[in-house]
Symmetry: C4
Subunit: 253 residues, 4 copies
Amino acid sequence: MTTKVEMEKDFEVEDPVFIEGLAGIGHIGKTTVSYLVHHLDAEKVGELYSHHFPPYTIIRDDKSADLLKNNIYQVQREDAQDLVFIEGNAQASTPEGHYEVAEKVMDLIEEVDASEVVTVGGYGTGDVVEDPSVFGAVTSEDARENYERYDIDFDHEVGQIVGASGLILGLSGDRGCSGICLLGETPGFLLSDPKATEAVLQAMEKILDLDLDYSDLDEKVEESQEVLKKLQNLQQKQKSDQDQQQQDLGYIG
Amino acid sequence: MTTKVEMEKDFEVEDPVFIEGLAGIGHIGKTTVSYLVHHLDAEKVGELYSHHFPPYTIIRDDKSADLLKNNIYQVQREDAQDLVFIEGNAQASTPEGHYEVAEKVMDLIEEVDASEVVTVGGYGTGDVVEDPSVFGAVTSEDARENYERYDIDFDHEVGQIVGASGLILGLSGDRGCSGICLLGETPGFLLSDPKATEAVLQAMEKILDLDLDYSDLDEKVEESQEVLKKLQNLQQKQKSDQDQQQQDLGYIG
Amino acid sequence: MTTKVEMEKDFEVEDPVFIEGLAGIGHIGKTTVSYLVHHLDAEKVGELYSHHFPPYTIIRDDKSADLLKNNIYQVQREDAQDLVFIEGNAQASTPEGHYEVAEKVMDLIEEVDASEVVTVGGYGTGDVVEDPSVFGAVTSEDARENYERYDIDFDHEVGQIVGASGLILGLSGDRGCSGICLLGETPGFLLSDPKATEAVLQAMEKILDLDLDYSDLDEKVEESQEVLKKLQNLQQKQKSDQDQQQQDLGYIG
Amino acid sequence: MTTKVEMEKDFEVEDPVFIEGLAGIGHIGKTTVSYLVHHLDAEKVGELYSHHFPPYTIIRDDKSADLLKNNIYQVQREDAQDLVFIEGNAQASTPEGHYEVAEKVMDLIEEVDASEVVTVGGYGTGDVVEDPSVFGAVTSEDARENYERYDIDFDHEVGQIVGASGLILGLSGDRGCSGICLLGETPGFLLSDPKATEAVLQAMEKILDLDLDYSDLDEKVEESQEVLKKLQNLQQKQKSDQDQQQQDLGYIG
């Protein structure tokens, strides 16, 4: 097994909602969950590493090195459901890796015995819009009825989800867990999208029974954008170096 | 093992013909078998999942999420051979995955003790034709003689088969099972091809001793096309986003 | 383990030379060994299959299906060293697969206790030449001295070998087995190259103490070319369909 | 496990510094460590092989074949810390492979009980500079303070490291080992970069308490360049042959 979870401490939650937001288009999933973790002062309990993540190491601003990883957090709440989060700056780089990481996340979902799963991503439309929608996909029609009272668009034409957010939703449904995937409408070419992120957060606020003030959202978006820029620069460089260093197996003696 | 079969109920067939039709060129394999399953009111008995499928999740029209998978069906018949089907919207995305999924299907073929295997696919010629042929490839010369009485083209120039339909045929031959691969002649650039699908169905009708009326074929083709469109849109988006997000390992520090 | 050898009968050779020639540039390795197997009426003893081969199935001229594989042969000789051959129409399609297949071949080399290994491939120069050279690479300087008496070019500028021929040579050297890789000089853009193949065969004739008449070489080259054409057509089709069906993971929601 | 270390003799070092330099941009890592190994007359103790390396075999100038590998060396010193080196002409060719090789190197680091790790690579800026910097990334802020007394640039904008140098640094930090990654500033399009290599060596000289004269650096750079040229030629050939031989799985029947 090349994907592993390292727990720093045990989970102390009961019947939590499990929320996932990882790197992806417009960095909406990662930024949304990152914001919630910060706002709720969530407690970090572990990390998920995978050999299927890109083999990059981030250099932080203080010049210390940081492996790509997903972070796991918990929040205990008195008057509402407990919460478990997974957020991070990486998704798998191969099909097989995507499924493997999703299965590992499902193990966590089963471990904390979550009855509800919320996954967050972005959906690129190619258009800039003033007031981005939050497109919803659900585990079942029952789940859809439950979420229809929130401001979520279920009349969209989105046909598929790529990566962790979709696989975790699909696997959750198969295992009898109820849930939703929230996809923030985004042009698709933005490094980050504060408007789409805020739209998703507004839906989250209702689903999770929160009270957000959004005052520090810009800061969080910028923080998230910094890391993305680092990876982005890398990928542009890679592209221009690609011709020079391309490795394929077409030339066999 | 990252490919697994989940059975909902036991097989109840005797000496069945095993029929395979998965996603592929012109979606002919999937649509053909999907039509037969519907027409014969086949009973679903299980599903096949693989970590080698693309990491996509389909959003159905009711906005519920559906993992990519292959479905397994059975039909018991009084006056003709029993039938087992595998059909679905995905094939593996890597060479290794193709072989692994084919081996898993071979396990099913052995489990139901099928003596005959029929696999279905398309063959893209680049040309639009009025009256598409059904090209045949077989497990052995004996098998060929058996199938020559049906309207199947054995004078073609098709040199190879890519993916599940070919591997299952080849593996079946190696294991002493008799069978044929039917390849519907298709331009190759069509999302779906009702004419080629009907041509293949006409051959299937004779091979499997069926009586089809084709009245609801258009509906089935359209249904199959819907899913394909969803994946197709995705792939076009991917392509246009490719420059921006391309990940390769050429740039190693 | 996803690469396996299936033996039809036991090896009956003593201290044999082990000769490898698989699909590759100009199909020189495969054609050379295929010719020797035919000429010496070698006995087929087994086959090697791998999940790392491309997931293609060849349709033979009689329309029966043939999985990609490598064939294993033996020849017992009274007045010269016994011979073991591996030849076939496929090499692995991934780096990992190349190493795995090469390790499997090394198992065979150890099983038959071969003291000498000859691997055959092509080297594309981009130029058409009248009288192609046979470039040599060896397991050690000692081996080189041994082979210098034959008409093999050791003053070439070839810097590397890609795929099975190189890996088997390298691994043989590491395990104390002596050997050579013969690379036929070829333009690189030819589907097959009878002249380069004949040049390699002339070196083989001396190394293996054979007496070849080359009368049926053209036939063997053509036969080999047929299979290659089938795979070649496939790859051209793939290329033109690539834009339409390209699957990458850049677009993650 | 498809990556393995083969030891020729046991380690005989105490509390060593572990230094890594593998193939990469401008070949700075490999050349730097190769130079140190030569200069210090380090003793070779083992080799690391991986199925994840490219499936290439180098033909040395004497025409003997050499598998891609990483070499492991040790140096015992009276008046300074012992040293262990890993250097070589290959890195993994897949994300998964990069992590697997890095984990294998971490096993070595743990085996020799190294308390300090120095990894070496290049960072391509696109610009030719007269006086290349050495960019530093560290395991922690404490480590940074330690290295700030040497002539290492910690005010750079480098956001990430790709491949072994970064992963080993990141993993070392996670396991409580202190260390630094030195990235020589290089245009990125040079086959080798003596100036950047010398700049890195000057930093190494101070960190490792060495006394280098640089007289034979040019020779070492050239030697390193020879191997790189061989692989480079190969990759250019591959590229031009790519159209002809491209293999992808888009065309599924």
